[in-house]
């Protein structure tokens, strides 16, 4: 059942210790900071967190990691110039890491929402990230078997919700939101704006309300504006994302 709640505390109520939690966002764009803060406050621990990164700076996911609430990270790009809290926990052997190529991460999340039991992909074939995995030659290419990533809860940020829980996003803040909403048993969304049902054009809805359980409006927030998006620097010349 869809519910609209008045506070982020009410939104995250009931998230249990040991849950698998997907957190939307790529860098700061689409990060549900207020929901993450509420998750921290609510005390849930022993979490498995799915996010593209493993926390940056001293906010959001990074604080969850610093506080020892995260047992395991599933992500594509943990190491960043300001991922010091993850780095420290990882080097101390206090957090587990499942490193997943970003496209496999997205496709595995999508598979969970779409009822796919597993799939073969060329990404990662012949690399150490495919070690121990089933492989097969398909369409003349080496491919690796990957499994769906389900979650108990997804915390995502959208731009606008209507009364049916239909969502639209803003620019590249869309990123993981739509696929995580479909992959989680319970999807909690923070939005900048609520509009009456019927105010969104049915052609333009990105996440239908069927994927949404809880909506909270963050008062005074305006997506994008005032959010300068930090510049990441990295040591390698390799592809960074």
């Amino acid at each position: 059942m869809l519910e609209f709640v008045e506070s982020v505390q009410a939104a995250v109520a009931g998230i249990r210790d040991g849950s698998t939690v997907m957190i939307g966002g790529f860098g700061n764009a689409g990060q549900p900071f207020e929901l993450i803060d509420a998750l921290l406050e609510c005390g849930a621990t022993d979490l498995t967190v799915v996010n593209n990164n493993a926390g940056q700076g001293d906010q959001g996911l990074a604080v969850l990691i610093r506080e020892g609430r995260v047992r395991k990270m599933i992500c594509s790009f943990p190491r960043q110039s300001d991922s010091w809290h993850f780095d420290a926990r990882y080097k101390a052997g206090e957090i587990e890491l499942e490193l997943v190529p970003q496209g496999n991460l997205a496709e595995r999340i999508r598979a969970a929402g779409a009822g796919i039991g597993g799939f073969f992909t060329p990404t990662g074939y012949g690399t150490m990230l495919a070690e121990g995995k089933e492989t097969r030659i398909l369409d003349g290419r080496g491919q690796v078997f990957e499994t769906p990533l389900h979650a108990d809860v997804a915390l995502i940020k959208a731009h606008v919700a209507d009364g049916k829980g239909n969502l639209v996003y803003r620019k590249t803040a869309r990123n993981f939101g739509p696929i995580m909403a479909a992959a989680a048993k319970r999807t909690i969304v923070q939005v900048s704006e609520l509009v009456p049902t019927g105010a969104l054009d049915p052609e333009n809805i990105v996440t239908p309300g069927i994927y949404v359980n809880t909506v909270v409006r963050i008062a005074g927030s305006t997506s994008g504006a005032g959010n300068t998006g930090r510049t990441e620097t990295t040591a390698a010349t390799g592809k960074v994302a």
Binding site: K91, E107, Y125, K239, A241
Partner: protein
């Protein structure tokens, strides 16, 4: 195969990063859909012309990416894969992460340009992990790009700081993708990788023979048809 008697030296000095970026930009066919990796490859966008009508993809969910945003243009919801604020060009489109990677993994990008630690004589790419035991690994979208794009161009200096060739017989660093690189742009030359091995299209500041002395893999001049 003789390495003499063919002059493919096209400049008297090694190329700087910007000259190399200009060269890569010139080689991208009009109308192409391209993903430029972070770091050196990003420079290529500075040299793409309007006439080329190139569409840039960023894996965090956009086609039609414009230049870096400045001042009032900066919008935290509009960033590229390097998390740098960018702008939107007319005809741009946004999509979610699975749809974005479907573009890459489905073979729809004409070219991606990536940095590298090493490229092997058969086009294996190593660009994500040094393999050092204490390094925290991070892969991002590198493997998807390497495996998915129709052509994978690498831009790098030919030699490490220690003077070792980054074009190698077999990569010692962990692989990003197997047999995926088709072309390598370096400060000292442009290399084509294909069924005939490593061919040199042009050299900068050295002869083909001097280049061969630096590299542990057999080189041959590119046939005219491959130019």
């Amino acid at each position: 195969m003789s390495l003499t008697g063919t002059s493919i030296q096209t400049s008297d000095t090694a190329l700087g990063r910007d000259e190399l970026a200009r060269l890569v930009a010139r080689d991208i066919a009009p109308g192409s859909f391209v993903n430029l990796g972070i770091g050196q490859p990003t420079l290529v966008s500075n040299y793409l012309t309007e006439e080329q009508n190139i569409t840039l993809h960023t894996e965090n969910g956009m086609l039609g990416m414009g230049p870096a945003a400045e001042g009032d243009q900066i919008d935290g919801d509009l960033i590229n894969a390097g998390k740098i604020p960018v702008t939107e060009l007319p005809g741009a489109s946004y999509f979610h992460h699975a749809d974005s990677f479907a573009i890459m993994r489905g073979g729809h990008l004409d070219i991606c340009v990536l940095g590298a630690f090493q490229v092997s004589a058969t086009g294996d790419l190593a660009n994500w992990h040094t393999g050092a035991p204490d390094a925290i690994p991070a892969v991002g979208g590198a493997m998807d790009l390497a495996t998915g794009a129709k052509d994978v161009f690498v831009m790098m200096t030919l030699l490490t700081r220690d003077g070792a060739s980054k074009i190698v017989q077999s990569c010692s660093y962990p692989l990003t993708g197997v047999g995926c690189v088709t072309r390598v742009y370096t400060d000292k030359g442009v290399f084509l990788i294909g069924p005939d091995g490593v061919q040199v299209r042009e050299t900068f500041g050295c002869t083909l023979q001097e280049l061969q002395e630096l590299l542990p893999v057999p080189l041959s001049p590119a046939s005219a048809v491959a130019l």
